[in-house]
Amino acid sequence: MSVILEVSDLQKTFGAVVAAKDINVSVSEHETIGIIGANGAGKTTFVNMVTGYLKPTSGRIQFLGQDIIHLPPRDITCLGISRSFQVPQVFMSETVFENLLMAYAIVEDTGLAMLSPIMSEERASRVDAHLKRYQIEDYRDAVASTLPQGVRKLLDIAMAAVRSPRILMLDEPTSGISVEEKFPLMDIIMEALKQEDTTVLFIEHDMEIVERYVARVLAFYQGEIVCDAPTEEALVDEKVREFVIGEEYHRTRIERAGTETGNA
């Protein structure tokens, strides 16, 4: 597995507040990584810096060997890093179909092709296939503002995935989703992304999700990565237990592991 994203010595300060400190991470192809940490630990700041929304105070971010720190979000997106948002960023007064049609059109039409009609049968069928992949075809003609939160989140992620990015960063894909819906939602997302061999990094608060879907964990605390390890190791790491998860989860996990005879 080759390294595609290399972050070194990343720092970000807002006035006196240190939002990111000495961040060093390298991400290889096909990895699935969970980013955990309390609110304000610097998770979203990290994602924002990698995707170009925030400029770091210092440090380097290299993607496929290219320095991307000075690039605006659109250029980083074009290079192959896409992202979703904690609050879904969709075209609220358009239908699900129109949202994805727009996404496909922006991705596919460049230069003078922008002056070709947005709608074509081929594109419509690609959109419909994408809707199926994310299992939101039932909502095809519903206006985005009327969607249930879970569907809107799926739409947001589906739009980010239109470009078939090398890396997809998901900002809390399950926040605001009910407990019963979480796993089905994640199944859909991970299944769809696996088909494309996308490298996934996602921010998550729910340790059960982390445990089930990721192989590697980055734990943030006060702007620093306090642990970067395979999931099994990370979840029992002392610092992670103290700063990120809190003892309670850990205890229930051990109990559960005891009764269920070590379900990984």
Binding site: T44, N48, F85, V87, D171
Partner: protein
């Protein structure tokens, strides 16, 4: 040379005070209500007309001469209360939920209407209310003559500016207002009566606009169309200072006032557009004006 510098500085400060007086009402309304109020120009014009009329009537009587000044303030308060309440209650409150551009356009439409209302009431012939100005005579600073009335404008601007600053930061009402400015919905949820805050703010803004016109009335020929120029000047000042910021309006006014005075004395041909050039330049480097409010995280 010294004379020219003195002239530029004093003229500049007088003009700055004038600009502050015409801009401050606009910025108060924008700051609280997020409405760019084109009828501000009408408040100015109505203030000037009513002041000219009242001053005219006053000096027909034998009352003490300095009482004429009271007429200026009386005019401003009357116009502010009357027009402010009518416009807010009769028009704006129905539009708060609409697109901000539409609200601007509605105030533009109202401005057009009021332009002709002025002509209906006062006709097209100019009015003069020179008496208060004549009363104060002239003096000279370093050999340059100035009329004292214009100098009192600086005083008035300082008083109004300080009063607003005090009112906003030291009184309960001001704090309520700041809360509404910061987050309208949250304030509503906290039990602040935003409806009343809006009405009062609009009336205060209207009074300030009218006071600008009323106090300027003795120095100008009060004639149709005086509101048109004022409105763009006020916009420019407010945008330079940062929309909705009172210290911003003050700094904006001083920057523009001094530059214009310098232009008038040194390069008279650029006088008219120097203001807009400054506005464009400021915005090119500080998109939200000199005093930009902080912004919340979006994603």
């Amino acid at each position: 040379m010294t004379q020219q510098i003195v002239a530029i500085i004093v003229d500049g400060l007088v003009y700055s005070s004038y600009l502050f007086m015409v801009a401050v009402g606009l910025t108060v309304i924008f700051g609280v209500m997020k409405i760019l109020n084109v009828t501000h120009g009408s408040f100015y014009a109505f203030g000037a007309y009513l002041a000219a009329t009242l001053v005219g009537i006053y000096y027909e009587t034998d009352l003490p001469e300095f009482g004429g000044f009271l007429m200026l303030f009386l005019a401003a308060i009357t116009v502010g209360l009357f027009l402010g309440v009518i416009l807010e209650q009769g028009l704006l409150r129905f539009l708060y939920h609409r697109d901000e551009h539409i609200i601007v356009l509605a105030t533009f439409a109202m401005f057009l209407v009021l332009e002709d209302v002025i002509i209906m009431i006062w006709g097209v012939d100019p009015y003069f209310a020179y008496q208060p100005m004549a009363l104060l005579e002239a003096s000279d600073i370093a050999g340059v003559p100035f009329d004292n009335y214009s100098l009192t404008l600086i005083l008035l601007a300082l008083v109004v500016g300080t009063a607003l600053w005090f009112g906003l930061t030291k009184t309960k009402w001001g704090k309520l207002l700041l809360a509404v400015i910061y987050d309208r919905e949250l304030s509503q949820a906290m039990g602040i009566n935003v409806t009343v805050v809006f009405l009062v703010t609009f009336v205060i803004g209207a009074m300030l606009g009218a006071l600008g016109g009323a106090y300027l009335a003795p120095t100008i020929s009060v004639s149709p169309g005086i509101g048109v120029e004022v409105i763009v000047l006020a916009f420019a000042v407010v945008v330079i200072g940062g929309m909705g910021s009172i210290p911003g309006a003050m700094i904006g006014a001083v920057v523009v006032g001094l530059s214009r005075a310098a232009a008038v004395h040194l390069f008279p041909e650029v006088e008219l557009f120097v203001i807009y050039a400054i506005m464009a330049a400021v915005l090119a480097f500080r998109p939200e004006g000199l005093f930009a409010p902080a912004k919340a995280r979006k994603i």
